[in-house]
């Protein structure tokens, strides 16, 4: 476990460094956002530099950032001048909420289909169309799916699924967040992969000798196949899919005006907003790492002997 944590830490370090490298290698000036609306003549730039006092060697820049982070200070956004830390916190929680929600949706839909398909050959007739549906949905561009969802909810159900509305609105504010979560869960190409993946695993496990034993002794097959056939693959999928879903979040947040990390990232990427980008990359990577930590711990817990390696 400790080793895992150490690795995670190393990885986060690596991530932050790579992002920094990209930012550093990028042409153009991260002060441009401040100079918007005026002609950034060399003199003006000099003035700005002086005002901000950012005249540092690259490693100086990186390490001062790193030290800051280690002491809990993520720096301030060059665009808004706000400290990045607190903003990042609220924003990343929103995104986390969106991500986990959509993950749930994906699984709730994918698992039954996958189990159906795997359970026994003769259920094919039922599971085939479902699988197809899964494939079709996940082959649609996610923002277009979002537009469809909005159009439908406006014209059929007469409500407008914007997160911002949900917050200030009445009892069932959750409905407003429901649509984006659905869209992200269905779209972004994940669901078909999840179905495929789970199906393969379950089928494999159903053919295992010990499942046959379970049948022979009149016990529930599912109960015996559960751990290897479902629990482990699902956790693996969750861990593996987090980065993708975070990516999809960028889009969904734009469409549904969701105050999340993805939108922030989009803005920051254009502004070259150093601290914000670094912060976001770090948080995102942390999510991913947490995911895989969770997965490993579950695997370990499920079967300490590591029966099948």
């Amino acid at each position: 476990m400790l080793k895992e944590l150490a690795l995670a830490f190393l990885l986060l370090l690596g991530v932050s460094f790579i992002v920094f490298a990209i930012l550093y290698a990028a042409p153009g000036d991260q002060l441009n956002v401040l100079l918007e609306g005026q002609l950034p003549t060399p003199e003006v730039r000099a003035g700005v530099r002086e005002a901000l006092g950012v005249a540092q060697s690259w490693y100086g820049q990186y390490f001062s950032w790193l030290l800051g982070v280690l002491s809990g200070n993520f720096g301030t956004s060059i665009r808004t001048g706000l400290p990045v830390g607190p903003e990042l916190l609220s924003v990343s929680l929103n995104t986390l909420y969106l991500t986990l929600g959509s993950m749930l949706v994906t699984l709730l839909i994918a698992i039954p289909i996958a189990l159906y398909a795997s359970a026994r050959g003769h259920l094919v007739s039922i599971s085939w169309p479902l699988t197809m549906l899964g494939y079709v949905i996940s082959a649609l561009p996610v923002f277009w799916l979002g537009y469809i969802a909005i159009y439908i909810s406006i014209h059929w159900f007469n409500f407008f699924p914007l997160a911002s509305l949900g917050r200030q609105s009445d009892v069932n504010g959750w409905l407003y967040t429901f649509v984006p979560v659905m869209v992200l869960g269905l779209g972004s190409g994940t669901i078909s992969e999840v179905i495929r993946n789970l199906r393969e695993e379950m089928t494999r496990v159903m053919a295992e000798d010990y499942v046959r034993t379970a049948r022979a002794k009149g016990a529930s097959v599912w109960r015996h196949a559960f751990k290897e056939g479902l629990l482990i693959p699902v956790t693996e999928i969750i861990a593996a899919k987090i980065p993708f879903i975070l990516g999809g979040a960028v889009i969904v947040e734009q469409v549904f005006n969701w105050p999340g990390m993805g939108r922030m990232a989009w803005q920051a990427a254009q502004d070259r907003d150093f601290s914000v980008i670094m912060g976001i990359a770090l948080i995102a990577a942390t999510f991913v790492r947490l995911g895989s930590l969770l997965q490993r711990t579950i695997c370990a817990a499920v079967n300490p002997q590591h029966a099948r390696e």
Binding site: D29, Q254, F256
Partner: protein, 540 residues
């Protein structure tokens, strides 16, 4: 769409712009119902909320609600007292002395008791603005001021370097409180003030939600009397289609700038009022005269003839604008109505090109002693750039028809600026000038303005034009200047350093429950304190 918001000098008061005034406007300051909330949608999030560091429209609109200037501009374009109750101008036109109101208080800072507004604040604001460490687009605009001193608590005197025509209007810049800033010397974005500004204006900042929704509430002690509408809420949107839908779904009450493609949709909807207001901007194709192909005036004129501007305006902006012929803000006194824009006339274009020595090659592309007429058109990328795309691609097609091949190259905004203004690495650009409350075209075409990060990016130089510009600058006689500028207009129209396209009419759309809406072309919310919502409509 993103504009080049550069600082040009051209005084408001001389702009007989159509200020949008809704039907109800005439009814004077009779008792109007108070209360109600106005949610307005913005495309994008404001960066800072103070008038000094903010450099995009969203922020400027907000600071218009929170702050006041010494003087204001009323709906009829006259300079009217605001924080200054009176002023007098010295004989030599260089001394401006303002008598300030003594009944103005700053928005309370937290629980502290409100502080009075005094001359110190004015001096302070000027100093902050001019401090080299303050990053603000305003600096350039106030270099004509030599110094400012406090006469007494309620009197300030500004001294100008040289007499300037209609200087008065320039004193509409927003005043910030001395006690407001953490750093008393200069203002940068890490000063808390830029996010928690306090002003003297009709509305005071209440909260900023995590989503950067800006909630502003009526200032009970506003010196012009409490504004009618209780709350203004600025809601940021990341997608213009959604923004429009939000209006039609009553999720918001107002869109400050309606996307051209949505106009038709909203026009049909009886619940809303589409109110036009002059954009104070015009779009153009600018040519890089460093390129020998474009150095020839006839080529540029040919391009002018090749475009069917009426068609573009018609089908891309359903005619919401006016085609222009010259470099001045349309409708301004300087604008020369005698000069006609190039008509759509491909034959003429081709003729001109031939005249300039171009012959159609085998591939249908004009060429002159071995040089093909191939040019790169640089366009900045934005997420919401449909209108831009349409125009530039149409341009490409029109020119193809007259045998000029244009390569459209989309560039990320910042690197586009680098290319155009620093490295001059382009042949043609498509852009718009936005005039703010004061503008002057001299910087665009004077040969002294050629060079990195100067406005004359196309390196257009013509001694005659230069001298005319200087002349018009120096003269204080209005009529004289007018004639000069008309000459200038005619000249530039003919020389065609730009192909001038049009000035678009902006539209604001709002729910018709909002009454007496007058919109300032540039600052937008200048008259917001007089807007109101009938009690019947206040409950949503």
């Amino acid at each position: 769409m993103k504009h080049l918001t550069f600082i040009l000098l051209l005084t408001m008061s001389l702009l007989s712009t159509i200020i949008g005034v809704s039907q109800a406007a005439e009814s004077g300051k009779t008792a109007r119902p108070q209360g109600g909330v106005l949610n307005y949608g913005e495309y994008g999030r404001p960066a800072t909320l103070d008038p000094i560091t903010s450099n995009e429209m969203i922020s400027m609109r907000i600071s218009e609600l929170i702050f006041n200037g010494l003087v204001g501009i009323n709906e009829r374009q006259d300079v009217v007292p605001e924080l200054a109750q009176s002023w007098d101008i010295s004989k030599d036109n260089r001394g401006y002395t303002f008598k300030l109101r003594n009944d103005v208080t700053w928005h309370p800072k937290g629980t502290e008791k409100p502080v009075r507004f005094t001359a110190n604040d004015v001096v302070f604001t000027y100093n902050i603005m001019m401090n080299p460490k303050t990053i603000t687009p305003l600096k350039v605009r106030f270099e004509f001021i030599e110094k400012v001193e406090k006469v007494d608590d309620y009197t300030v005197r500004f001294t100008l370097k040289r007499p300037v025509l209609n200087a008065l209007a320039k004193f509409s810049f927003k005043i910030i409180p001395k006690h407001g800033l953490k750093n008393p010397l200069y203002l940068t974005r890490d000063d808390p003030f830029v996010q928690q500004p306090i002003g003297t204006g009709p509305y005071m900042l209440k909260t900023i939600t995590p989503d950067r929704e800006i909630v502003m509430v009526a200032n009970e002690h506003y010196f012009k009397g409490r504004p009618n509408i209780d709350q203004f809420v600025a809601k940021p949107f990341a997608d213009q289609n959604i923004l429009t839908q939000a209006l039609t779904f009553n999720a918001i009450d107002m869109i400050v700038l309606v996307n051209p493609r949505s106009i038709a949709e909203l026009q049909g909807d009886k619940r809303f009022i589409l109110q036009p207001y002059n954009a104070l901007s015009y779009s153009f194709f600018g040519y890089n005269l460093r390129n020998p192909l474009l150095a020839d005036k006839r080529v540029r004129q040919a391009f002018g003839y090749a475009l069917n501007r009426q068609e573009m305006l018609g089908s891309f902006f359903n005619n919401q604008g006016t085609i222009i012929s010259g470099p001045f803000a349309p409708g301004s006194w300087a604008y020369n109505l005698d000069v006609q824009p190039f008509p759509y006339n491909p034959q003429k274009a081709i003729a001109l090109l031939n005249e300039a020595g171009f012959k159609k090659g085998a591939d249908g592309i004009m060429q002159k002693d071995g040089h093909k007429l191939e040019l790169t058109l640089m366009v900045p990328i934005e997420k919401e750039s449909e209108a831009v795309k349409r125009v530039v691609l149409a341009f490409q097609n029109y020119l193809k028809n007259v045998g000029a091949s244009v390569k459209v190259e989309f560039k990320e905004w910042q690197s586009w600026k680098e290319d155009v203004f620093a490295d001059h690495h382009f042949d043609i650009i498509y852009a718009s000038w936005v005039f703010d409350d004061s503008a002057d075209i001299s910087s665009l075409f004077h040969s002294a303005e050629i060079g990195p990060w100067k406005n004359n990016f196309g390196a257009y130089s013509n001694p005659e034009v230069d001298s005319l510009i200087v002349e018009s600058k120096l003269t204080l006689d209005h009529e004289k200047r007018r004639t000069i500028n008309r000459k200038l207009h005619a000249m530039l129209a003919d020389e065609a350093p730009y192909t001038f396209l049009w000035t678009l009419t902006n539209y604001s759309a709002y729910h018709k429950k909002i009454q007496h809406v007058a919109i300032h072309p540039y600052k937008f919310f200048s008259y917001a304190d007089e807007w109101y919502i009938p009690v019947s409509a206040q409950k949503k």
